[in-house]
Amino acid sequence: MSPLINLSRRAVLKGSGALILGFHLPFLPVPAAMAGSSPMAINAWLKMSSDTVAVIVARSEMGQGVFTTLPMLVAEELDVDWQTVRAEMAPLDPVYANPLLGSMKTGNGTSLASGFLPLRQAGAAARLMLMAAAARIWRVPLTELTATAGVVGHAPSDRQASYGALAGLAGRQPVPPDPPLRDPTTWTLIGRSPPRLDSPAKVIGQATFGVDVRLPNLLHAAIRHCPVLGGTLGKIDDSALKAKAKDKERSPTGYRPGVIAVVPLTNAVAVVAESWWQAQTALADIAVSWNEGANADLTSASLDSALTKALDTTDSHAIAIAVSHGDADHAIAGAARVVEAVYHQPFLAHAPLEPMSATASVTATGCTLWLPTQDQEQYAKLLPPLLGLKPSQITVNTTFLGGSFGRRLESDFGIQAALLSKAVGRPVRLVWSREEDIRHDFYRPASVSRVTVGLDAADRLIGWRHRIVAPSILARVDPGALKNGLDSAMIAGLDDQSYALPALLIDSVRRDTGVPVGFWRSGWHSNNAFSTESMIDEVAAAIGRDPGHLRRTLLTDVPRTLGVLDLVIARAHWDRPLAPVTGGRRGRGLALHQAFGSVVAEVAEVTVFDDGRLRVDRVVAVVDCGLVVHPDVVKSQIEGAILFGLSAALTGEITFDKGQVLQSNFHDAKALTLAEAPTIEVYLVESREAPSGVSDAGTPPIAPALTNAIFDATGQRLRRLPVADHDLRAQ
């Protein structure tokens, strides 16, 4: 199973005699651009042969399981043996747009939510078309046919035909406009955990990631960006790369053997060579001067101080009010008790294990990309003006993604590969070093949040005021979405929080910093869950209430969230004391958060040793993500989301001096190790609601659950992440 099948619509239909089943999906209009111009404007989700069913997957597989869960939806209705199902990555095509994101794009926890109905309908329609084909061949009424486990049968005449044998004719049958779907009680795949379809190739090293793309005549490239963020390339001195006299005749390019070209880019220099190691070592031998630009004096201290200062802005034009109900200022002013805290969160790198990479082949008539990306469609917009091509001349083939966490929503590495291929006139595979990956990310934004809570004389919450100051992501990726220059997206997870608060004021202040920022697993939810769930814990401590039970009293009107909270309290044995440990203090912390349509609560248990060492012993998570399509994938995603967030909360921090990122590789941008990983228990709430996002939703609660547990153990309240910056030794 390769994700690298270049499946143009023409190929689907002609298919060199293959038995292809293509059909319109009735609810997805064929895009106007395709409808008039091409008779091939037909949607294709299935390819069938005598022994396999290939389901076309239009979402990028980055570990979250879409190569398994999306085919399950088709296979459930089609009624085929799971052993025969394969997954194939869709090419860039408007018909594969994500209806929830408006283009061919993967993210925001939308893959299952957007596919749940259409892909089952696709499977059901295909099954009816296979039956219709059999009815025509055998000249029998449709009602006498069965279709199950990949075989259409006609019992009265004792005839059978495999789906594969019928597929050619089936593809020419009319598409049933509204195929009935199975009664959920008869599902045989959905709700179970069939084996992941991508694992067998991955475990033997045969899956193709971005760094693995092979092409005839392929060259390799390495890159070095301006070390100062936002700076540009000045002068290149590549004289050290020139061929020595004895090598001259072996070196038509004039460079030392193996080196093909030195290519200047706007903010970087790249070397193209016959192998990546030659390119990478050649880069080190080039002298470059940089135009450092506006960020040359930027430091972490100056950034933190700028954000913190903006907390107190009184300029109403700088404040985007997201939620205002009741009069929070008045309630707080008249409160019997006020609890207030400021929470500082750092910039964070994505650091997927596969560094940024892309392969491109650019000719006078087209550009073909092979790359791990979450956003295929952006290249059809961004590349044509750079390459002098038309959007229709851009082909995007998606490889497996060696992790992403939002990083591969960005276009930078793909555009670079295309420019390099154009420069040398041959296919080029660009691979960034880890150092470039860490230092030239689009970082999770740092933020400073102030939360102020007023309580009445009976310790009831009467007012909540919440302000986040942070640099804007939208200002770069979707400036049209700014309202009067304000980024209201940065309050995600604050505006829909579930607690009963009679007066609430939530606002945000955009303070751009020069540091490139982008979406990181769960987006702004990670910032906002930390401030909210820390504050709830602080309030509980201030009034001497159990933080779990305080949350219960605030959630009585929200049964779904309350159910998640109650279940985590039960499963974590919240009300039972932890076993003590000699030489350390133990603690337990809880946090819950709603994001991407799902509700997740997590309880972390920690041991803080007297010498300051911290061990996270156990995390218990409860998830309500609507109907669970693949329970094991959901559990694995929650496990991963917890460890991803935990890694960040413990040590994650990108810092700056003189406009440069100070971290460079996993020795100083540490990632959680196996030895440090806690045991994790995940419990799923049974639900019949539509499926909602999982991979992102598990991350936001873990940082506050962790710091709340550290507070429980030590009495130290950590309001600044990461945890590693704090001294936790017993006083």
Binding site: G63, K202, I204, G205, G402
Partner: protein, 173 residues
């Protein structure tokens, strides 16, 4: 020019002597199951067996490996495997699938190699043994399943075999 033994076959290379093994494997030999993650010997995505030891291929030069037996993931599994079959590697791979370990899967080949090396030395490792031996990074956070998969693979091994058996010796019948 160096001659190395990779997956049981002699390979003569013309790359510079200080080229890391990783880039010989990936760019010259197209053995791309060995992954590039950090280039600094930290993440373990490029782990291969060198004389049965788990070694980060990004951090050893080809010149240093002239007499060594090198085995990559392709030599343990699939078409190019050295042994027919290597039951230990197959147990580890089967355990990885049974526990549904991989998410993005980029770390999987290196981890499987590291686990094979661990189980050769310590066929029934404790959790502490695993913590000490398995230092590969997984950014998807599959660690709980990696631990389970290692125990699963170990439990499928006979109580006494493999511990000292040199690489290349078929398992006892």
């Amino acid at each position: 020019m160096v001659t190395l033994t990779i997956n049981g076959r002699p390979v003569t290379t013309t790359v510079a002597n200080d080229t890391p093994l990783l880039w010989l494997l990936r760019d010259q030999l197209e053995l791309t199951g060995t992954k590039f993650g950090c280039g600094s010997g930290i993440c373990g995505a490029c782990t291969v067996l060198v004389n049965d030891e788990a070694i980060r291929a990004c951090s050893v030069t080809v010149a240093s490996l002239a007499d060594a037996q090198i085995v990559t993931i392709e030599g343990l599994a699939g078409e190019g495997r050295v042994q027919q079959p290597d039951s230990l590697a197959e147990q580890v791979i089967a355990a990885w699938i049974a526990e549904q370990v991989p998410q993005c899967g980029y770390c999987a080949p290196g981890l499987i190699i590291a686990t094979v090396a661990l189980l050769r030395r310590t066929p029934h490792p404790s959790d502490d043994d695993i913590d000490a031996a398995i230092t590969n990074l997984c950014r998807c956070g599959t660690y709980p399943r990696i631990r389970k998969a290692i125990h699963r693979a170990a439990s499928a091994l006979p109580q006494s075999s493999h511990a000292q058996s040199p690489h290349g010796t078929p398992p006892a019948p």
